[in-house]
Symmetry: C2
Subunit: 222 residues, 2 copies
Amino acid sequence: MAMAADADAVSPRERYRSQVRADIKARAWEQIAKAGATGLSLNAIAKELGMSGPALYRYFGSRDELITELIRDTYRGLADTFRAAADSGAGIGGLAHALRRWALDDPQRYFLVYGTPVPGYQAPADITGIAQEIMAALLDVCAAAEPEAPPSASAGFTAHLSQHREWAGGHPAPPGVLRRALAFWTRMHGVLSLELAGHFTGMGFDQDRLFDAEVAELASGR
Amino acid sequence: MAMAADADAVSPRERYRSQVRADIKARAWEQIAKAGATGLSLNAIAKELGMSGPALYRYFGSRDELITELIRDTYRGLADTFRAAADSGAGIGGLAHALRRWALDDPQRYFLVYGTPVPGYQAPADITGIAQEIMAALLDVCAAAEPEAPPSASAGFTAHLSQHREWAGGHPAPPGVLRRALAFWTRMHGVLSLELAGHFTGMGFDQDRLFDAEVAELASGR
DNA sequence: TGCTGGCGTTAGAAGCTATAACAAACATGA
DNA sequence: TCATGTTTGTTATAGCTTCTAACGCCAGCA
């Protein structure tokens, strides 16, 4: 109320518009959480919001455009989560558990990014930019872990990475750190996606402990 | 011609029926390969086969039923691949590369089994039975690898497995082997699914070598 | 006050899954 | 050989989807 600076004067129209867009996205997330991205229906969302079908196309040009926006938000959220964990000095284990919490919080959101790709789809350029942010935070954390990793069974690949490191942006991490970051990515995704997809249900063991074990082996040198 | 034993006398009707079913599945696989499981259209398949829409429902009760059948066939094929690799004395590395070849051969087929789960879907009981076969073959291979795995960073979880091993069926493998089989599953799936989903494209490094590296670290004790 | 741009509406095309009702072909028993 | 019943195909139809087109209205701005 006291912050009546009109510097950020948004027209009431824009205000309304972004409000409706947010409502639509909120409903979309509900639908995705309970039926997956496949089960997302623009029609159903419109009806839920009290407006009739095609009105929704004033806010999102197509179903794909809405989903792309959700994917973008998801990348953004994951990047923020990673950045926060990295800046708070969390180690590899801390980052891993932050990732798992984020994933378990809404499995379908995780699958929106790391799930089955639809063959034709190409993510817009700005999304791959956010993906770079995620990688940067991961590299920061890996670089801050114990400086010298014990010689690994894959020394050859680590050497290969020293000559193919463009994907790390300008990050100054040595190849061993690059290798560790890749291992973090592949292994955490491996356990997590199987867990989220329910492939472990009914197997009897404690899924928390499996994840912790995999984190321990990743963090303990190797 | 010489094998005119009428023991396996299938009525020409059944013969025709199973032929049409096979045709339908073949077209379905084409569609899935090029547009993913989401893009599978019964109508389009029917038209391709020269019959009109609803005729297809004589052969598959519903879209879900067809997809379930494809999933079943996929599990069956993967189980056979694993069994063959295991029986041919392939080690952990051999099994891993057999898996990767099988996956790269048709990525969407891989995702049909290990991709984004649709929230409501529950696989029929016989499919989980085939999944058990896959696990058994994996356990065989892991058991045949070096008998004693070095002490790992996750000894606690291995101990936990010794008391939660029902999922291994009656397999006599010691807990360390169970641990290794789980690691095989999660790690190979981690690298593979990221590779198949295209998350590594444009990163510049050699994806074969990443896979080999991960296999090497898995096989080299730990 | 009057104009214009954004918003919401209904109508409709084209696609999909799936069911119902009906016709033809086929296999088999009397 | 003829009749019966099963199996396979057809068209029609309901109900859903995405998305375009044409129209009316109303709010905000000059």
